[in-house]
């Protein structure tokens, strides 16, 4: 109960009265019909929902969604577990454990060090794209894919099984590559492009 009726938080509040209802009001029928009319009128209005995942909303070319860990042209993982993505991450969502590549794994990893565990907590991630900017190996990119809904919180910690792109189905990130980035990559004097 509002002790002081003069103080109102909004101008839409109504003072409830215990006034006895009229005959028409006691019938309830006009009120029900009024409600049904409102419901029915929505059948003829434009739909506001879309049938995800069959239909998807259009997103911007540079949309920042679910991350991908890219492979190089020979199918080797580019990530070298340098930790710069985790360092730049404002939400501290990324963790990794590095390991040394053995001679049998030359076809799997590009550098002598690789990430044996690479995890992004999608509940922590704010999709700012700093990891992508920080990456010196062009390994991590944000894509136009969404993070799927889950029923358990633990399921949102995405490991390498979900982040590394499949060998047979490369994930297209060309839309996020602006003309500036492309010209930078072509410049062979920038040592890491060699």
């Amino acid at each position: 109960m509002n002790q002081n009726p003069k103080i109102q938080l909004t101008n839409r509040s109504k003072v409830v009265s215990n006034k006895e209802m009229t005959f028409m009001e006691r019938l309830y029928l006009p009120a029900i019909l009024k409600g049904l009319y409102i419901t029915m009128s929505h059948f003829f209005k434009k739909e506001v929902t879309i049938q995800y995942p069959e239909v998807k909303r259009p997103v911007s070319d540079i949309y920042r969604g679910l991350h991908v860990l890219k492979r190089d042209d020979e199918g080797r993982e580019r990530c070298t577990a340098c930790g710069l993505c985790a360092l730049s991450c404002p939400a501290e969502a990324i963790t990794m454990v590095a390991a040394e590549r053995t001679d049998d794994e030359l076809h799997l990893y590009r550098e002598e060090k690789y990430a044996s565990i690479y995890e992004i907590n999608m509940l922590r991630c704010i999709f700012c794209g700093n990891c992508e900017t920080a990456c010196p190996k062009e390994a991590i990119f944000l894509t136009d894919r969404f993070v799927a809904s889950e029923t358990k919180r633990n399921a949102f910690v995405y490991g390498k099984d979900k982040l590394v792109e499949p060998k047979d189905a490369p994930i297209d990130i060309s839309k996020r590559q602006t003309a500036e980035v492309k010209t930078f990559k072509l410049d062979k004097s920038k040592s890491h492009n060699k």
Binding site: C82, G83, L87, A98, E100, E112, K113, P136, D187, H192
Partner: protein
């Protein structure tokens, strides 16, 4: 006492002081960077040429300038000497060229290298280098060498500063490694890849300004900027026991000597402290190690946070 002026700042120093030491006494931006000079190692310096400065006035008596840039770590001051470091475009230019030369054969594998984040060469090239290389030829490459089971040597990253050679020479009784061959082909090596085994060999890791000599027990374990350095000591029969231990959580990832502002260790520690004492219970912890403000180790740590005065009255009431 000699009066010397470096970048318009004067200081009186004793005869026999080098320009670099005098600059360090003044401190600040005017201190020339040094890769090969190490104040604890006799005869070090004069190799890398990053500390070059311009002497515009030789001394009070003979005010002629020195004809070329001089290595400040090797040149002793004279009375009335006037030196230019960052105020001379010639020096800045020369330093840029030196960095370019140092990086010619350097693999630039910082994302892989364990030294990244505390590397003198990385800092040097960040401050004085360019972001592109003009070198088009193949870089000189070698295979990495295990020196004993605790130290790994990456000849690719080596800049031939000779610090480790002097450290081995002056700290231990039996020097078993040195520089083989000459010029571009020179490389640090032991005689027929012999293991270096003595109590103080681990200090080679600390004196190495780049990632050429690295701790094998720490190899790829973690990035230095995720670790928390704490100063600690223990009663050691062989050394002073004063070290920096690097934590992540409650786990000790590695033990190093204490480095000062210029990345130099003054209390060398023994191998037992460095490689075998990796339990927090082995050490008496003194407190957080001081980190240079420009270091990446400060990233994501909130230092010198001032508590707003508004909170204090509340705090008092709460208590």
């Amino acid at each position: 006492m000699f009066k010397v002026t470096i970048d318009n700042q004067s200081i009186e120093v004793e005869a026999g002081t080098t320009i670099l030491q005098a600059a360090r006494l003044i401190g600040g931006d005017i201190v020339p960077p040094a890769m090969c000079y190490h104040s604890e190692l006799k005869d070090s310096g004069g190799k890398c040429r990053t500390c070059m400065v311009k002497v515009v006035q030789g001394s009070e008596k003979d005010p002629r300038p020195m004809p070329k840039l001089v290595a400040s770590c090797r040149t002793e001051v004279m009375d009335g000497m006037v030196v230019q470091n960052i105020t001379s475009p010639e020096v800045i230019d020369a330093r840029k060229a030196v960095v370019e030369f140092l990086l010619i054969n350097h693999p630039l594998d910082c994302p892989v290298c364990d030294q990244a984040g505390e590397c003198d060469l990385q800092n040097l090239s960040y401050e004085h280098g360019t972001n592109a290389s003009r070198y088009e030829e193949e870089k000189r490459t070698y295979d990495k060498i295990d020196i004993g089971d605790k130290i790994q040597f990456h000849p690719n990253r080596c800049i031939l500063c000779y610090r480790c050679v002097y450290a081995a020479d002056q700290l231990t009784d039996n020097r078993v490694h040195g520089i083989l061959y000459r010029g571009e082909k020179s490389e640090i090596s032991t005689f027929v890849h012999q293991a270096i085994e003595n109590d103080f060999s681990g200090n080679m890791i600390d004196v190495c300004p780049v990632g050429a000599l690295t701790d094998k027990t720490f190899r790829f374990k973690n990035r230095v900027w995720f670790l928390k350095p704490m100063e600690a000591h223990r009663n050691c029969t062989k050394c002073s026991g004063k070290s920096t231990i690097w934590f992540r959580g409650n786990e000790v990832y590695r033990v190093t000597g204490r480095k000062d502002t210029y990345g130099e260790v003054h209390d060398f520690i023994c191998n037992e402290c460095r490689f075998d004492k990796k339990q927090a219970s082995d050490w008496t912890i003194e407190g957080p190690a001081t980190i240079v403000p420009s270091s990446v180790l400060n990233q994501n740590h909130y230092k010198n946070v001032v508590i707003p005065s508004v909170i204090n009255p509340i705090k008092e009431t709460m208590e």
